[in-house]
């Protein structure tokens, strides 16, 4: 029933995935979703049949909803950066105590 999305639509969706994945405050989740977004879109390049493409597109749209909500939650509850995570140097001007 669903019509296969155009190339532009898929690319736009992919961009959304990357953008939202990058917004995770948690290092491990951010890296994971970036990796998985890239991998799964690349893997689905091989899809040929319109109905298959349409289904993959619909699934991905649903996943994008999850990603958007969870990226927001990840920003609401933040924790220290990991020892492998570079800090943005300008962000760390030592603040006066108690502020």
């Amino acid at each position: 029933m669903a019509v296969a999305p155009t190339r532009l639509q898929v690319l736009a969706l992919y961009k959304q995935f990357i953008k939202n994945s990058k917004q995770f405050n948690n290092y491990n989740f951010r890296e994971y979703f970036l990796r998985r977004s890239r991998e799964s879109f690349r893997a689905n390049v091989a899809l040929q049949k319109p109905e298959e493409v349409a289904r993959a597109f619909a699934d991905a749209k649903e996943e994008l909803g999850v990603l958007k909500r969870q990226a927001i939650i990840s920003q609401m509850y933040t924790f220290d950066k990991l020892v492998v995570e570079p800090l943005d140097s300008q962000k760390h001007t030592p603040s006066p105590t108690g502020v």
Binding site: K19, N20, K22, Q23, F24, N25, Y27, N28, F29, E31, Y32, F33, R35, R36, E39, E63, V66, L67, K68, R69, Q70, A71, I72, I73, S74, Q75, M76, Y77, T78, F79, D80, K81, L82, V83, V84, E85, P86, L87, D88, S89, Q90, K91, H92, T93, P94, S95, T97, V99
Partner: protein, 505 residues
């Protein structure tokens, strides 16, 4: 450190508030923009709503940490004593802590056998059960109960699917410890009139060993099978141990400390031949190695949700229906879960567990490839150091669990030196005591080696950068600690430590 601003249209930017407009925007086509604040004060200001209430919960104490580090660095410079102590003799510890180097301070999580981080997709499923879907799944007189019951049954389906079972064979429990207790005590008690014997192994998780031990007080005999140097049980020994009055064989699928996979299919075949129930504790194996309860003749199987990126506080027990496995329930009550586990189910946990199981199945290939690759890298990197060895079978193993011994280094002191990596020398249940791991003992390792072993856990969310950091940090600190050790000096000089006669004994 981060704040986000919701923008409904280009140009119309305003701070995040909990107003109805912003909340509705979350659901619609919302574009998030990440902005970097220039100072901590600005951040604190930005997250406040109109009413002066913060909607963000930041538990990061990075600023405080930085401050402490600054103080420490300054005091180090002023007090020559500490500075000398640190810089004397070796350079190994110069890179030990990435303090004040532009990196964060939170340790890398490498203890995936203890528990795993909750997958954001799992949390997304759970949240609606904490907000709107609060019905009791056992209430069948109204729609609140129906909707949660539907979600519970869907989750049961997902949990069963991973091990190729029927959803009716899944009993939700509070975790693998409860499942294991239910099996060891329940099966034994149900058949106590005719059967008096339980078989398990020496490398089982504490909850199986302790449950079996408590059955000894109830008049049962328990055989603890030995394992070989690789951590595998001897199938001939198992077959020999089975008696006419044996009711249960319990062997864990993947060991939590050394990651060794027991030959489940062969054990299942032996148990079927002798008509003995076969239970496997699959807390570490579920969703991570292929398990088919029918092909492997598994009659009972324990699962834990928080080992598969699900919520904590829930697990499951698979109980075969055909031929039926009978067991006496631990809890008496309303008769939920086929009467085997009374008590109201927690729909948020059950649904989260179901989603976690679904993702385990969906992501199996990806996770496997990722974990295999990182595991190989970690093993190669760690074993490149002298006098290190991998514990447990190199072939029959789950790659996400790497247990390495560093000879001539005391494990606990290595862990203390590794405060930037969250690791454990063994099971979390026993890490409070300083006694060496009983699992490594069962493998025939001596106390010294068992003391110097560290377990590394790799999971779905582990990154390559983390593995690189761990290899570098461990190698440096092992070298540092060995330089301090007189034993290491003797080894370098070619003295066989076993030939030394220690005085004072």
């Amino acid at each position: 450190m981060l704040r986000f601003t919701l923008a409904r249209s280009a140009g119309a930017m305003r701070p995040a508030t909990l107003s109805s407009r912003a909340v509705s925007a979350l659901g619609s086509n919302v574009s998030l923009r990440r902005q970097y604040a220039s100072s901590a004060a600005a951040v604190a200001k930005a997250v406040e709503t109109d009413e002066g209430l913060s909607i963000e919960t930041h538990t990061d104490v990075q600023a405080a940490n930085k401050e402490q580090t600054d103080i420490r660095t300054n005091s180090n410079i002023s007090s020559n004593v500490t500075a000398d102590a640190i810089s004397s003799g070796t350079t190994a510890l110069n890179h030990a802590y990435r303090e004040n180097t532009g990196f964060g301070t939170r340790p890398i999580y490498m203890d995936m056998q203890a528990t795993t981080p909750t997958d954001p997709r799992v949390l997304d499923t759970m949240l609606k059960f904490y907000t709107g879907l609060y019905g009791n799944p056992h209430s069948n007189t109204h729609s609140y109960g129906w909707e949660t019951n539907k979600a519970v049954e869907a989750a049961r389906e997902y949990v069963a699917d991973v091990i190729h079972a029927n959803s009716k064979e899944i009993i939700f429990t509070s975790g693998a410890t409860e499942s294991n207790n239910m099996v060891v005590k329940g099966v034994a008690r149900f058949y106590k009139n005719t059967k008096k014997h339980i078989i398990t192994t020496k490398t089982e998780h504490k909850c199986v060993i302790e449950a079996a031990r408590s059955m000894m007080n109830e008049g049962f005999e328990v055989t603890f099978l030995n394992v070989d140097a690789n951590g595998l049980i001897d199938l001939k020994e198992l077959e020999g141990a089975i008696r006419p009055d044996t009711c249960l064989v319990s062997v864990m699928a993947v060991n939590n400390e050394i990651g060794v996979i027991q030959p489940l299919k062969e054990i299942g075949a032996i148990c079927k031949k002798h008509k003995v129930y076969f239970h496997t504790d699959a807390a570490q194996a579920y969703g991570k190695i292929p398990i088919d309860v029918n092909e492997m003749n598994i009659d009972l199987l324990s699962v834990s949700s928080h080992k598969i990126y699900g919520p904590k506080g829930i697990g499951a027990l698979y109980v075969r229906r055909r031929p039926r496995v009978r067991l006496e329930p631990l809890l008496s009550g309303g008769g939920q879960e086929r009467g085997l586990r009374s008590g109201t189910l927690a729909p948020p946990n059950v649904a989260g567990f179901g989603e976690a199981a679904r993702i385990m199945k969906q992501e199996y290939e990806n996770d496997k490839a990722h974990i295999d690759r990182l595991s190989k890298k970690l093993i190669d990197g760690l074993l490149a150091n002298d006098h290190t060895n991998l514990n447990g079978s190199a072939l029959h193993r789950y790659p996400g669990c790497v247990n390495v011994s560093f000879a001539y280094v005391e494990g606990e002191s290595l862990l203390m030196a590794l405060r930037d990596i969250a690791l454990s020398s063994g099971s979390a249940c026993t890490s409070a005591s300083l006694e060496p791991s009983y699992v490594l003992h069962a493998l025939g390792k001596d106390d010294a080696l068992a003391h110097s072993s560290i377990r590394f856990g790799i999971g779905r969310f582990t990154t390559e950068a983390e593995v690189d950091y761990v290899i570098k940090a461990i190698s440096e600190r092992v070298k540092f600690l060995r330089e301090l050790s007189p034993l290491w000096e003797m080894v370098q000089e070619g003295i066989d430590l076993n030939s030394i006669e220690w005085s004072g004994h």
